[in-house]
């Protein structure tokens, strides 16, 4: 009887320990989530980074914008350029960090919007003095899309009217020559 009581007490303690472990794990995750959120939420603009490059040199910064052009893979790493509406900055990152990125900005598509957390370099010695960011983490905040082109019928009409005018002028010129 005493043995049974001791066993159930032990089990109870074990369950309590497990619960505590689970709770602390959840709390850690929650705290980590908030830390990352805080790290990503105060993005610095490209203009601020370019104009006050010395102040941010070597520091971890967050930068938000649209991935434009192409992601250029160089071995285990890659270059991508992120445009925040004023300027585009070069981002040097591990190739693996680009995996979730599907769209890059061009005439035919809007690129994925990302937040980059990384070390800002005023004149990166590793990359020939480029002003760049070496990314530590990349978070996609909104996916890109294919930009559907709607035909501008006003332009179609203008082209047609001018085409007729052009033809008339050509005929007139040819007749005059003859």
């Amino acid at each position: 009887m005493h043995k049974l009581k001791a066993k159930s007490l032990k089990r109870k303690v074990q369950t309590q320990n497990l619960k505590l472990l689970f709770l602390s794990f959840c709390f850690t995750l929650y705290a980590l989530h908030f830390t990352l959120m805080a790290a990503f939420c105060q993005a610095i603009s490209s203009t601020e980074l370019i104009n006050n490059a010395k102040q941010y040199d070597g520091k971890v910064v967050d930068y938000e914008g649209e991935v434009i052009g192409e992601i250029m893979v160089r071995g285990e790493y890659a270059w991508m350029n992120v445009y925040d509406g004023d300027n585009a900055l070069g981002i040097w990152l591990l190739k693996d960090l680009t995996r979730g990125l599907l769209y890059t900005g061009s005439y035919k598509s809007r690129g994925d919007r990302v937040v980059i957390a990384g070390i800002f370099h005023e004149n990166c010695l590793e990359h020939g003095g480029d002003l760049d960011i070496h990314a530590q983490a990349v978070r996609k905040i909104s996916p890109g899309r294919v930009a559907t082109e709607r035909i501008n019928f006003a332009k179609v009409n203008q082209a047609a009217i001018l085409g007729v005018l052009c033809l008339l002028m050509l005929i007139l010129t040819l007749f005059k020559r003859k």
Binding site: N51, M72, G129, D132, I151
Partner: protein, 480 residues
């Protein structure tokens, strides 16, 4: 104008090939307007008479203005330029191979419009009138006057039309080679093959014609590649060499490179301006490593000296990081330019060489005994005796350029910008370079935009055509 209209077929074909419908419509509308305008001019101005010098010059200066107004139409229709003035600014910048730009959201611009931006540089670099002479003119009547009016006073071959065609042959051969080289480097840098060759063709046109536009807003910094920078340096230097020298090199006279006054002057000015730039950057401590200092410093300097305007730094870095000495050195390099009869703008090396020789001659006259006969010679394809006439002509154009640089700087200061920044931007515009320290922006005053357009136009045509036009209007006002 008919030639310009036909050139618009290139972006139309590209637009149709890549299914960019609205951009294609922009070019169809622009082509039709240009064609109508050209046909009206043909009806109104057709003559069988030979052009006088005055008429030749006026035709050239007005052709450039008309090309700007018509070439800007597709740009404006794209919606990426906030006003027609901004589109005209970029069109003149393109035709005059300057490279200053007011485009908005360049990274989302269509391929057709992007190709057009670079194509107008390619045409402008060779010369708009040269396009007409090469493809549309059968006789040489009045051709030489227009050829000279477009700031090309040297004939490579006896016939000016053959000369124009040779200039196009050189350009097209280098276009193929340069596009291949840049395309391959782009692929090795991780770009998609098609995109890489498109970028290669655009960047080549901008580099060889010492223009400075690029398909992306970061200019050459977009590629993050040393190899790309090296290839563009080679192309920029090729573009800054006299077409006459290209001809002699092609004919196997390689020694001409080392003997020519222009290449010697080019070498000396590059070394001296780079020395000052490097010293300025070292004093500022901007780039702690020598290799990095060389890579950044030399690229911006050679880009400025050849009149290209490619950048691997952001515009404000010139002001924030480079310091006054390095900035002044780049301004000097921009002001000097490349060779005559090349695609560059600015004072140019032949004139610098002649002015220097004239100075040496004058010093010798003072130092040597009065009875000594002082004769100065220089080598430019052949041995040439320095005459007072050639020295005066070189000095006059040099002074005109210095005046134009100063005029733009005054306009900049009038608009509230600091002296050095105003001088930098003004020299860049007037010397058809395209490097910017940040003044050229969409929100700069319209007065300054107009000033820079005038500077780009006058600088590209080297004044004579502009003087002729001003003289013509002055005479018309006076009723003569």
């Amino acid at each position: 104008m008919i030639g310009l209209a036909l050139a618009m077929l290139v972006p139309i074909v590209l637009g149709l090939a890549v299914r960019e419908i609205n951009p294609t419509l922009d070019f169809i509308i622009s082509l039709e307007i240009t064609l109508v305008f050209g046909l009206i001019l043909m009806k109104l101005c057709y003559t069988e008479k030979d052009l006088s010098w005055m008429q030749g010059m006026i035709v050239v200066s007005l052709s450039w203005l008309a090309a700007m107004l018509l070439g800007a139409i597709p740009l404006y229709l794209s919606g990426h330029w906030k006003s027609y003035l901004d589109a005209c600014f970029d069109a003149m910048s393109g035709f005059a191979t300057t490279g200053l730009t007011l485009v908005q959201d360049l990274d989302h611009l269509s391929l057709a419009h992007n190709l057009w931006r670079h194509l107008i540089m390619f045409m402008g670099g060779q010369g708009i009138v040269i396009v007409a002479l090469s493809f549309f003119v059968k006789g040489a009547s009045g051709a030489f006057k227009m050829y000279v009016g477009e700031a090309r006073d040297e004939k490579i071959l006896p016939n000016v039309i053959d000369t124009s065609r040779f200039i196009w042959l050189v350009s097209v051969v280098y276009l193929v080679l340069g596009t291949l080289a840049l395309g391959v480097v782009g692929i090795l840098n991780g770009m998609q093959p098609l995109n890489s060759f498109f970028h290669g063709a655009c960047v080549f046109m901008a580099a060889f014609d010492t223009g400075g536009f690029a398909p992306q807003s970061q200019n050459i910094l977009y590629y993050h590649s040393l190899a790309y920078e090296i290839v563009t340096i080679v192309i920029m230097v090729l573009g800054a060499i006299n077409f006459k020298l290209h001809y002699h090199i092609w004919m196997g006279h390689r020694k001409e490179i080392w003997r020519n006054i222009e290449t010697r002057a080019f070498f000396v000015t590059i070394i001296s301006t780079f020395f000052l730039t490097a010293l300025g950057l070292r004093l500022c401590g901007t780039y702690p490593e020598v290799w990095v200092l060389f890579r950044k410093g030399f690229y911006q300097l050679i880009s400025g000296h050849t009149g290209t305007g490619f950048m691997t730094i952001y515009a404000r870095q010139f002001i924030n990081q480079w310091g006054d000495l390095a900035l002044v050195s780049v301004i000097c390099a921009m002001a000097l330019g490349g060779a005559v009869c090349s695609t560059t703008g600015a004072i140019k090396m032949l004139r610098i060489g002649i002015v220097f020789k004239a100075m040496v001659e004058d010093i010798k006259r003072i130092v040597l005994p009065e009875r000594a006969v002082v004769v100065e010679k220089f080598h430019h394809i052949k041995e040439v005796f320095l005459t007072d006439k050639s020295a005066r002509a070189a000095l006059m154009i040099t002074l005109a350029y210095l005046g134009l640089y100063g005029l733009g700087a005054l306009a900049g200061m009038y608009c509230g910008y600091p002296f050095l920044e105003s001088l930098f931007e003004s020299t860049s515009a007037a010397a058809n370079v395209g490097l910017s320290c940040g003044i050229t922006q969409v929100n700069m005053p319209a007065f300054l935009k107009l000033t820079y357009i005038f500077q780009m136009w006058a600088g590209r045509l080297e004044f004579m055509s502009i003087f002729a036009l001003v003289g013509f209007f002055a005479a018309a006002v006076e009723g003569k």
